[in-house]
Symmetry: C2
Subunit: 561 residues, 2 copies
C-alpha cells in the first residue's frame, strides 16, 4: 500500500504546480514526508511492510514490490520538487536511490516483478544529474528477460522476464507491468541515445496498437493474469483494460512522442485520455472502474468485475493513479524545441514555450474549434505547430481571420500544421477540426467484433446503452455506413453530452433460443425505421446497469467480412 500513498504525494506535487495555495495538499505532503524521513533506515531502505514485518529485504522481488514502491516514491519526490521547489522528499529519494545503487549496481541479485523503478530512476537522474541513477535504470532494463525476477506464480511471461527487451517483438503478460516497463525502456533509450533499444520499443508499440489494443485505447484482453492476449484477441466483453494500463500506455506514448515527435503517439494519448482513461470515473467522480470492457451484457456477472463502477476495490492502485494523471495533465499539452512550440493536445490553457506565450481556448472534445491567442512573443520568427488528429479528415487554419472561415488547408504527412512568423501579442490562430461523427471498422482478424462497426466523433469513442434504445440492445443492428445524426442533450446522470444516432434494424430473436442451428441461416434484420443511439463511451454506466456495447452488429451496404 506504500505506493498508493506515494502516488497521492505525486499527484499533490503536480497539483501544487497549478494550484500552489491548496493548504490541505501541502499539509498532507509535509506530514507524510516528515514521517517517511523518520522511518527511513540509516542505510536508505524504506518499505513499511518489510520494516514492520521484519521479513528479510529483497528475498521475494517477484512479488514484494519493494522497488515498485521505491519507484513511486522517487517519482513523487520529483513531482514535489518540480511542483513546489521543496526538496524534503528529494532528500529521502536520493538516500533511497543511493541505497539501491549500492545494493544492486553491477549485481544480479534479482529484479522487481513490477516495473516502475526504471522511469523513476531516469526522472531522478534528470532532476539531479547523477548518472548512476540512469545507469541503474538501464541495468534493470537490460537484466529483464533472463529469469532474474523469479516467479510470482504466473510464470516469466507475466513479468516480461522470458525474453530480453531487445529481442521481444510483442507485448505479453501483465499489461500494467509491460507498459510501465516500456516507459522505462523508452526513458533509458532516450537518455543513453540508444537508437536500437528505442526502435524495439517503437516496434512493439506499433504491434500493440495494431493488434492488442481496444478501440478505447485499453490494453489487456484477459482477466487471467490481467494480461495481454494473442494478436487480434480483442474481446469487447472480456476485455480487461485495467485503468492503470491506460495510464501506463499514456506515459509510454508520451515518452515516444518526446523521443520522435511523431503525431501517432499524440493521437494514441488522446484516444486513451478521452476514452479508456476518462471512462474510469463516474460523472460525480466518486466511483471508479478497475476493469474497462467495451460491452456489458444485460445479465452480466463476474466476481472480479461487476460491470459497474465501484466505490472501492481492495487492490486500490487505480484511484491514486487516476489522481496523478489528472493532476499532471497540463504537462502533456505541448512541447517546445528550438524555436518551435508544438501543441499536441487541445484544452483551454495558458501555454508557454520557444519564448512564445499563448492562451488556448476550446470546447474540445465537443467542439473542433481551437483558438490560440498570442499573449507574449519575442522579436524574430517562431513556429507554432498544431497537431491534426488522424480522425480529422480535413482541417481549417487561419491567422487573424476577419470572419468565420470554412476554408480547408492541406494537412502535411506528419499531421502538424506549422505557422512560422514574427508573432505579435494579440495574434489569433484558429484551428478547425472535423467533428463529423464517423463509422469505424475493425480489422477482419479481430474475430470478436467481426460484422460490427463502432461510432466515433472527434476523439470520442461512442457506445450504445440500453436506456437509449427502443428495443433490446442484443437484438439491434446498425446500417453500416448509414447517415449519422448528432444531437446536443442533457441526460440525467450524465449531464451535457452529444448523442449520435444511426439508422438500424431489429433482429427478431430465434425462438426457442438456440446457440446454433443447421436448419437456417440467421434471420435478416427487419429494417423498418429503427434508430440506434449512442453516447460517449466515457459517460457510460451513469444511468443504471443495462446492457452496453461499443461495437454494434451491422448490415447493409458497407457490410463487413
Amino acid at each position: 500500500m506504500d505506493s498508493d500513498i506515494y502516488k497521492t504525494l505525486e499527484a499533490i506535487g503536480w497539483a501544487l504546480e497549478t494550484t500552489p495555495s491548496t493548504q490541505k495538499f501541502s499539509d498532507f505532503a509535509a506530514s507524510t514526508i516528515e514521517l517517511l524521513a523518520r522511518v527511513q533506515l540509516p542505510d536508505g531502505y524504506l518499505n513499511s511492510y518489510v520494516q514492520a514485518s521484519g521479513e528479510p529485504r529483497y528475498q521475494n522481488l517477484a512479488s514484494s514490490h519493494e522497488w515498485y514502491c521505491d519507484g513511486h516514491f522517487i517519482q513523487a519526490a520529483v513531482a514535489l520538487a518540480r511542483g513546489t521547489g521543496n526538496q524534503d522528499a528529494m532528500d529521502i529519494a536520493i538516500r533511497l536511490a543511493d541505497h539501491l545503487v549500492k545494493e544492486f549496481a553491477g549485481q544480479s541479485r534479482g529484479l522487481d516483478g513490477h516495473p516502475i523503478i526504471e522511469t523513476a530512476l531516469v526522472e531522478l537522474y534528470r532532476e539531479t544529474g547523477t548518472a548512476a541513477y540512469r545507469d541503474l535504470a538501464a541495468q534493470f532494463v537490460e537484466q529483464r528477460g533472463h529469469g532474474l525476477a523469479g516467479d510470482s506464480g504466473f510464470g516469466r511471461r507475466y513479468l516480461q522476464d522470458h525474453l530480453p527487451v531487445r529481442e521481444r517483438t510483442t507485448e505479453v503478460g501483465h499489461a500494467v507491468r509491460a507498459l510501465y516497463l516500456e516507459a522505462g525502456v523508452t526513458d533509458v533509450a532516450t537518455e543513453t541515445n540508444d537508437t536500437q533499444l528505442l526502435d524495439t520499443s517503437r516496434q512493439r508499440w506499433d504491434d500493440m496498437v495494431a493488434a492488442k489494443t481496444s478501440l478505447t485505447g485499453g490494453n489487456g484482453s484477459r482477466h487471467e493474469g490481467e494480461s495481454f492476449g494473442d494478436r487480434f484477441e480483442l474481446p469487447p466483453d472480456r476485455a480487461y483494460n485495467e485503468t492503470c494500463a491506460a495510464i501506463a500506455s499514456f506515459h509510454w506514448s508520451w515518452r515516444l512522442l518526446l523521443a520522435t515527435g511523431e503525431a501517432k503517439y499524440a493521437d494514441h494519448m488522446e484516444r486513451i485520455l478521452y476514452n479508456g482513461f476518462a471512462a474510469a470515473i463516474n460523472t460525480e467522480g466518486v466511483r471508479f472502474f478497475y476493469v474497462n470492457p467495451l460491452q456489458r451484457r444485460v445479465d452480466h456477472y463476474e466476481k472480479d468485475d461487476p460491470g459497474r463502477r465501484r466505490e472501492w476495490f481492495k487492490c486500490a492502485c487505480c484511484p491514486p493513479n487516476i489522481m496523478r494523471l489528472l493532476a499532471s495533465l497540463h504537462h502533456y499539452l505541448a512541447t517546445s524545441k528550438d524555436d518551435t512550440l508544438s501543441i499536441h493536445q487541445y484544452a483551454t490553457a495558458a501555454v508557454t514555450g520557444a519564448d512564445l506565450s499563448v492562451d488556448v481556448e476550446t470546447d474540445y472534445p465537443w467542439d473542433g474549434t481551437v483558438t490560440i491567442r498570442v499573449t507574449g512573443a519575442p522579436a524574430g520568427e517562431r513556429e507554432l505547430a498544431l497537431r491534426v488528429p488522424a480522425w480529422s479528415a480535413t482541417a481549417g487554419l487561419t491567422v487573424n481571420e476577419a470572419q468565420d472561415s470554412s476554408e480547408r488547408v492541406p494537412v502535411p504527412p506528419d499531421r502538424y500544421l506549422r505557422i512560422r512568423r514574427a508573432w505579435q501579442a494579440g495574434d489569433e490562430v484558429r484551428l478547425r477540426l472535423d467533428m463529423t461523427p464517423r463509422w469505424t471498422y475493425p480489422d477482419p482478424r479481430v474475430d470478436a467484433v467481426r460484422g460490427c462497426a463502432a461510432i466515433e466523433r472527434g476523439p470520442l469513442v461512442y457506445c450504445f446503452e440500453q436506456t437509449d434504445q427502443a428495443a433490446r440492445l442484443d437484438e439491434l443492428t446498425a446500417l453500416a455506413g448509414g447517415p449519422l445524426t448528432e444531437r446536443t442533450v442533457t441526460l440525467p446522470g450524465i449531464g451535457a453530452t452529444i448523442q449520435v444516432s444511426a439508422p438500424g434494424g431489429h433482429v427478431p430473436p430465434r425462438e426457442p433460443a438456440a446457440a446454433w442451428t443447421s436448419d437456417q441461416a440467421p434471420a435478416a434484420p427487419d429494417e423498418r425505421a429503427v434508430t440506434v443511439t449512442a453516447v460517449p463511451y466515457f459517460q457510460w454506466d451513469n444511468r443504471g446497469p443495462g446492457a452496453m456495447r461499443v461495437w454494434i452488429p451491422v448490415t447493409g451496404q458497407a457490410g463487413p467480412v
Copy 2:
C-alpha cells in the same frame, strides 16, 4: 488425489464388466481395496490427506473435497459391485456412507465445495435400497444455495451456493461443479418423484444448451474460475470447456434422458461424446486436453492452456474421468421400458432389453447406416425404438429389406422411429441417417462468432486446421451455404478420416496492420477459387501447433447478421 484413484477403480469396475478376464485390472482393484479397508477408520471416515496430515475433519468443506472423494469412492464401489459382483469395496462404501449419515443427516454443518456425493449416494441407494443414502443426497441438494459451503476464495456463485437449486434458472460458477450438482439434482428428483425439482433442472439444461454451450458440447466460457459466463458469451478462442465438464454434462443429460425419454438429451450426449469429449485425447491416446477451445491462433500462448494436448497436468482430474466414461460407454447406448427397447446411441454392440437381443453393426460416426440384427426374441410383440438425431434431415428405415433402399420415412416429432412386431431371430432392421455435410449458423446473440458458420457432418463438428489450407487461416473465409464436398483420406498423425471442403475467399490483410480504421470498411474477400478444408474437431492438434478454428468467417448468399 484420492479421487483420481477412486475414478480409476470405477473405470476398472466398468471395464471388468465387458472384459472380466483383465487380470491387471482386478489385481489393482483388489490390492487398492485391501489397502483402503485397512486405513478406513473404525467410525467409517476415510481421507488420505486429512488422516495423514492430522488436520481436523470437515473444517474446510468449501475446499477440502472430503465428500467429493467419498462420492468418487462410493461410485467406484457401485461400479465394482455391478461390474464384478465383488462386494469388498461396497463394504467400505457402506461404512463410509453410514458415517456421513451419522455425521450430517439433519445437520447444517457445512457442504462440500465440489458436488458428486449427491449422485454417489443415490447410486448407493439404488444398489442397497437404503433410503437414508437417498435422503442425505436430497438434503445436500436442498442445502445448497444457503451459503453453507463457505467460501473457497471465488465466492458463493462459484460453488452454486448463492441460490437454492429450486430458484436458480441458469448455470453459473465452476462448470464441473455445477454439472455434477445437476446430475445429483436429477437423480434426487427422479428417486423422490419430485417433478418440481426435476423441472428446474430441465429448465436450466434448456437454458445452458441454448445460451451457454459451445458447438462441441463444451461448457465453461471463462478461464477465470473455470466457469460459465453470461448468456451467449461463447468465445471460441477463450472457451474453457474443461474435459471434466463435458463428462459431467454427459452424465446429467443421461439422467434427464432416463427421466423423460426425450431425444434432445440423447442428441446432446452424442454431441458431447464425439466432439467436446472425444477431442480430449490425441490419436495415440497418450496426451490430453484439460481445456478444449474452438479456436487456436497461430501465436497462441497462455500459461494455463498451451493450446496443445499435454502428457500430464498437475490437476489430473481429467484422465481418470476420461477412463471412467470410456469404460462405461456401453451403459449409454440403449434403454428398455416395459416392452420397448430404445436405442439412443449407435455403435457396434450386442444389446439386450425388453427380452430382445440384438446385434448392432455400424461404421458410425463416419457412416449413417446402422444394421440391427435380432439374435433373440420372445413370443409376442416387442417395440424397437430408434433415435433419429436432430441433425439427420431424413431417415430411412427398413425391415428385412431385399435390396438397398433409398426410401425415406417420416420422422415423428419425438424423433424415435418405432417398429412394433413379433420379432424372429435373424430379423434385420436397417436405419439410414443423413450424413450429408451441413452448414451450421450461430444465434445472432453469440457475439463472438458473428459472421461465421461451422461445418458439421453427422454427429461430428468440423474444424479448419492451418495445415489443410492454401493460405493463412486468419485470412480465409468460406462461402456461406456453399456446396460441401467430402473426401475419405488417411492423414499422417490422424489416420483415417473424412475431410470436408467448401468454396471460400481470401481477405488480403490490411497493411500496415490496424486494429480499426475509419478510413474504409474492411476489404471484400477475393473469391477466386479458394477452397477451405475441414477435418473432424476431435482429430485436431495431431499434426502440429498451427492455427485452428471451428467457426469460419463467411461471405456470400447466406450472409450472416
